[in-house]
Symmetry: C2
Subunit: 265 residues, 2 copies
């Protein structure tokens, strides 16, 4: 047993390169296991086979929906260099691959110690502090177990909780953290970027599935709430991108992600 | 022989899953073979082993610098579904893997025929037409063969051609096309997103290498010039993202990319 719901649910058995896991049905979105959760699982496995402490950038392609039950994570060390290691991790259910991920790892503490120039064009979303925000507690038609593992706070409730029509502006902002008090770390960030409802719901879309998701991990998050902003800028021919930014409680950018989503009919 | 410099240089021999190629030294940037060119090569190989005509999203991890000489592209069909196929492609030089790529393919013409809702928050960069722009012809200290394969037009010359100091604004905009008149297609777009000098040069950085690059292919480009915009928003601890957008001559978004770059010392 781990020390939190997330660590329990993403625990890996074995010594590699192949690991055993159990998808416990508690991290599911509309279409099966949350894609961010699966990517976190693959990222954890990569960390076990590479001699670097921190994931730096992870990319996952979603091949099939994930479903509750026993799973395998099969890893391959692609290259282990001086500052960066690369691994591949496939997540399998019933012998079928549901996620193919590639992960680069490094030592972000060493990178921070080397320092260097900084630049930021933009900052965290302009949100009231979490205690002045509203809890986003979804009363949904379809049970989405994922939202019970997390706590969300928003300045403005989305249309699907107020009965209003979609706003036409596909941007969501708010605060997120684990419901059980586990602090965020780099492994949690691939989950967090994908744990928010698709901003494209605000365009009137109902079902969007992820084809591919890339997450850049930019710094180890400080304890506390994580601020998120997700946004879609372009939708055409049934495809859209969604970008997410995560900022830790110290106001630092800790992750940037982009996914390609496909509208389901 | 193909019909253009690009098609010749990215030609693949064999019937798969492993293909032969030759890196001819004519698509090189500061640190070896251009990363976008290598990703185009991997994307071409994926198209040969999947029953879908169009790349949809490609992700590449850069393991080692590419150099001129014989190369291999080893592919694996990861899954071939109803609307989307997934393949992996590794590019090898001297038996060592330089790029590990994953590629999703689909039929974008069929997607366009299905149609659906559209949304765009933003459009092509506000550039004068190419004939009113200046040719960007680099007289560089280091020979970068890539820039002789392409033609660039810009509204404003970058600081490294005018002798001014870096602007501090890491954004580049302009027009791009093949120098030999070959029209753009989806295979050219992974090259184009990475064929522009890093916008972070405008921050005073000198050497940036790509760790990972994801390219979303959003539509088959119309003939003619392609408008590009590249931009970096966040640099810290030696890492930065660079986003690129490509727009075809009809004003349509045809590609969006994001890369994680690492500052070299």
């Amino acid at each position: 047993m781990g020390t939190s719901e997330f660590d329990d649910a993403s625990a890996l058995r074995g010594s590699g390169p192949d690991f055993g896991a159990v998808l416990d049905g508690q991290w599911d979105g509309q279409g099966g296991t949350n894609g961010g959760f699966l990517l976190s699982l693959a990222t954890r496995a990569a960390g076990l086979v590479l001699p670097f402490p921190d994931p730096l950038v992870v990319s996952g392609f979603y091949l099939r929906p994930g479903s509750p039950g026993p799973a395998q994570v099969r890893t391959e060390v692609v290259r282990s260099g001086r500052t960066t290691g690369f691994a591949q991790a496939g997540v399998y259910r019933d012998g079928k691959e549901v996620l193919r991920a590639t992960i680069a790892c490094t030592d972000l503490a060493a990178a921070a110690a080397r320092g260097g120039q900084s630049y930021a064009d933009g900052g965290p979303p302009g949100l009231p502090p979490p205690e002045q925000c509203q809890e986003l507690k979804a009363a949904m038609a379809v049970p989405i177990t994922l939202v019970d593992r997390l706590e969300y706070r928003v300045a403005e409730l989305p249309f699907w909780l107020t009965g209003k029509p979609p706003s036409g502006t596909p941007v969501y902002q708010g605060w997120i953290r684990f419901a059980d008090g586990r602090e965020p770390d780099l492994l949690a960030l691939p989950l967090f970027v994908d744990a928010v409802a698709p901003a494209a719901l605000e365009l009137g879309l109902h079902h969007v599935t992820t084809v591919q998701l890339t997450v850049q991990l930019r710094a180890r998050p400080a304890p506390g709430w994580v601020a998120f902003q997700t946004r879609t800028r372009f939708l055409a021919d049934g495809y859209l991108e969604e970008d997410a930014e995560l900022w830790d409680s110290s106001g630092r950018l800790v992750a940037q992600s982009r996914q390609l989503g496909m509208v389901l009919r």
